[in-house]
């Protein structure tokens, strides 16, 4: 599969742990914010006003800059019915689009499968970080995981070139598919072959990259920089996935939440600045989500697991603004003390899959869901 500079790509940024929606996009006129948050709230004067109703929390300045340019869509009240309030299950549901049973196929993995059904490019989807989020996993579909772009390759310890090429030949033979080896060994062999091919291709990216943009020092900024390098090298990667953690602010929220969002906001603006420096911003869409929002009433030092949250869609081609409705904060409208989701996350996925990637969303998200017009 060849890539062209016109192929749309997505960058998924997962806010792991459950971001506190009520304390991120804040309905600043609502007395219920102050009432429910005796301890866990930002001073009203520090909020970044977006419109008459809503503000961003104080460290989202860089994102507000993009918002003012019309490049940020905020999706309100996102989630799914009957949130289990477990990180594990919630993340699984977001990854597999299966709220009622345990799914084994991830939505981003299914996109990969549709984009590259013949597995011609082992780099169609890449996770930047250790391990693989389930969103990217579909049995038999190759996905690369790059913890650090600068050190990536097979049997890199063998320095003698002739010896290494013989060893890599043997490796390729040992890992080529075999009949009757069993599912796990098949998987190991497939992964080994993908690793061998991917490593060979990806080593070009850092060699080709140069930029004047300085990324801030944070784990998420390093991953976004790696993503920029691979994207700018035109290796045909269409799905980039990474995450930042941990938004699980049961305690110490007022210390940690501002830092997390500062790192995310600054990382994102550096990333888009980098793309723009290379004139390559228009085909990249970034999607931010978290597995759930947090409880409306704080617990004294943080907030517990909740339900509805917010997602963000960022990019040059995005029709910026507020989408959907902020769920009611009134006590009688809450479910077990939580904001009730009023928009199914699979609708947001569908909008991206169909209106950005140009694929049929139904088999990817397991059904038809209301889309939003942020593209």
């Amino acid at each position: 599969m060849t890539s062209t500079q016109k192929d749309p790509v997505i960058v998924v940024l997962q806010l792991t742990g459950g971001n506190d929606y009520f304390n991120t996009v804040i309905p600043h006129n609502d007395p219920l914010y102050m009432d429910n948050r005796p301890y866990i709230k930002y001073p009203l004067e520090d909020l970044i006003k977006v419109d008459d109703e809503l503000s961003f929390m104080p460290s989202m300045g860089p994102i507000k800059g993009l918002y003012d340019q019309g490049k940020v869509a905020v999706i309100h009240g996102i989630g799914y019915p009957d949130s289990p309030r477990s990180h594990f299950r919630s993340m699984d549901i977001w990854h597999t689009c299966e709220p009622d049973k345990v799914g084994i196929e991830g939505w981003a993995g299914r996109i990969t499968q549709q984009l590259d059904p013949n597995k011609e490019n082992v780099l169609t989807a890449i996770n930047f970080g250790h391990g693989l989020p389930r969103a990217l996993v579909v049995p038999g579909v190759p996905v690369a995981a790059i913890a650090d772009l600068s050190t990536y390759g097979v049997l890199t310890g063998i320095t003698d070139q002739d010896q290494r090429s013989k060893a890599l030949d043997l490796f390729a033979r040992m890992y080529s598919p075999a009949i009757g080896a069993g599912a796990v060994t098949d998987y190991l062999r497939g992964t080994g072959m993908d690793a061998l091919k991917g490593a060979d291709i990806v080593k070009a990216a850092p060699e080709m990259y140069s930029s004047n943009v300085e990324y801030p020092a944070s784990a998420i900024a390093s991953h976004l920089k790696d993503i920029a390098q691979v994207y700018l090298a035109d290796l045909g990667t269409r799905i980039f996935y990474t995450q930042h953690a941990t938004f699980d602010t049961h305690a110490g929220e007022m210390m940690n939440h501002p830092i997390l969002w500062r790192e995310v906001s600054e990382g994102i603006t550096a990333f888009f600045d980098d793309l723009h420096e290379h004139g390559r911003g228009e085909n990249v869409l970034m999607y931010l989500f978290s597995e759930f929002g947090r409880r409306v009433h704080d617990n004294g030092s943080g907030t517990d697991h909740g339900a509805a949250g917010a997602s963000f869609v960022i990019g040059d081609m995005v029709k910026g603004g507020m989408y959907g409705e902020y769920p009611s904060r009134k006590a009688e409208d809450l479910e077990q003390g939580d904001l009730v989701p009023n928009y199914d996350f699979r609708g947001a996925y569908s909008s991206i899959v169909e209106d950005w990637m140009g694929l049929d969303a139904k088999p990817i998200v397991n059904g038809n869901f209301e889309k939003l017009a942020f593209l």
Binding site: F88, V102, H130, L155, I158, F171, Y175, G300, Q336
Partner: protein
């Protein structure tokens, strides 16, 4: 059984009940016998042996900061990896790793490796004891209390984090209780906190200890899983351990860790166990032994379902790193650069003492992706091909003494030294073809022979078979 079969079976036991063994150790253990070895592993000497020739004392002397690494996770990770590599009681470390998988507590939030290492010490001490006692110890463990916010669980402001995970992840499994049960369990644990509550800045770190504050405990009536009373935390644990779901859940975890890879935990409410019969044996054993983990492990290690479960488990990254370093006898004394052994499992997707969340790690085939597989293969290959390491030197000396010469003998001996690995016939054939390219070993040039052996060992380490534990 032939002597080689005995050695292969012992290699299997040592991979599961420890972190693998050199051929020399396997020979010694086979001479003692399988069942006797199981007993030895289950009954480590009471006093802390300090490791061979004061290995652990040396760690503290040369790297004092690994004793109380504070908020520096790598030092804490290095300290534990050093113990996995060097402990004369490998099952103690293995069991501690098991509980760390289940009771996953992470430095990302605790920001206190002193307390995390103390938790590991608690796993060492109570890990093979009574499961009820373990849950009580866990409930009082300062790192856990902080990790799941029980220090923020107050009589008039209940925090459900600990109460929920105790039920969902540490005992019963999801869907065996209601939201009300979560609430009631959490109420029973109000007042279970840590002391001293001194902010780290600007005062520095104070060791935490468990502190029960009666005045902050909600002593009113609770109704939990159909039982009512003025329950405190231990009462909740007493009710939990008697639930059939609990024993099954813990046995399935033990099966997944010691016997064969299961589907991932969230699927356990839906998918039947990989071996229902084996699980029933384990459930009955744990019940009859009054939750004694050691009795259960004895039954498991001596069972046919365990002995037959070869190549049924993908090694965790900690097992890859500790097992390989034990084999090559690297890091059996401290030296500069010790952080590397703490970082390596993380490169393969398992930052010990820092799991991605309280759910721990996805295991089995989920350990493997193109990035982690590369990290595993490269790590092993680099170590076993390093002829300056004493374990590799011993392998070379053994091969010389055994008169290993032809490519066939070289491949066979390499497989035996790497844990009596059994390769698929096709892979073995290809490896042999490759080895034939170099001809017979020439023992007149010992350096060249050593390099050849190292290369074949590296390629054995790069096989799919070596990825299994």
């Amino acid at each position: 059984m032939s002597h080689k079969d005995d050695l292969a079976q012992m290699a299997h036991l040592m991979r599961r009940a420890g972190f693998g063994a050199t051929r020399g150790e396997l020979e010694r253990r086979v001479a003692v016998g399988y069942e006797a070895t199981v007993e030895e592993l289950l009954n480590p000497p009471k006093e802390d042996s300090g490791g061979p020739a004061g290995t652990f004392a040396m760690l503290t002397r040369y790297h004092p900061n690994t004793l109380l690494p504070g908020g520096v996770p790598t030092l804490g990770q290095s300290s534990w990896m050093y113990h996995m590599i060097n402990s004369p009681n490998p099952l103690v470390e293995k069991v501690a790793l098991f509980w760390h998988h289940v009771f996953a507590t992470g430095n990302s939030k605790v920001d206190n490796c002193d307390q995390l290492l103390e938790q590991v010490e608690m796993f060492r001490e109570f890990g093979m004891g009574n499961y009820r006692t373990m849950l009580v110890e866990l409930s009082k463990n300062p790192a856990m209390i902080y990790w799941l916010d029980n220090n923020e669980n107050h009589r008039d402001a209940v925090n459900e984090n600990w109460g929920r995970e105790l039920l969902e992840l540490f005992s019963m499994g999801v869907s065996n209780y209601t939201e009300v049960d979560v609430r009631e369990a959490s109420r029973a644990f109000t007042g279970w906190t840590i002391a001293p509550k001194v902010p780290r800045l600007p005062y520095g770190r104070f060791p935490w200890r468990f502190d029960y504050r009666e005045e902050d405990h909600d002593d009113t009536e609770k109704t939990f899983l159909g039982h009512s009373g003025n329950f405190n935390g231990e009462d909740i644990i007493d009710i939990i351990v008697k639930e059939p779901a609990t024993i099954r859940f813990i046995c399935r975890h033990l099966y997944n860790f010691f016997v064969a890879d299961e589907v991932q935990v969230p699927a356990w409410t839906i998918e039947p166990a990989r071996d229902e019969e084996a699980l029933d044996v384990m459930v009955n054993t744990l019940e009859e032994s009054n939750y004694d983990i050691k009795t259960l492990l004895r039954v498991v290690f001596n069972s046919d379902f365990f002995k037959n479960a070869t190549y049924a488990k993908i090694k965790s990254p900690a097992e890859v790193v500790a097992g390989t370093l034990r084999l090559v006898e690297d890091w059996n004394t401290p030296r500069p650069g010790i952080k590397d052994i703490g970082l390596q499992p993380g490169y393969m997707g398992q930052s010990i003492l820092d799991p991605p969340s309280v759910e721990g790690w996805y295991t089995g085939a989920e350990w493997i992706n193109s990035g982690s597989l590369l990290a595993r293969i490269n790590f092993v290959a680099d170590r076993v091909a390093d002829t300056s390491l004493s374990g590799v030197k011993k392998i070379i000396a053994d091969m010389k003494a055994d008169g290993v010469s032809t490519p066939d003998e070289l491949v066979q001996a390499s497989l035996e030294h790497m844990g009596f690995l059994e390769l698929s016939p096709e892979t073995k054939k290809q490896l042999l073809e490759h080895a034939k390219g170099g001809g017979n070993l020439d023992w007149n040039d010992e350096a060249a022979s050593g390099t050849r052996i190292g290369e074949v060992l590296a390629l054995v380490g790069a096989t799919t078979e070596y990825q299994f534990g």
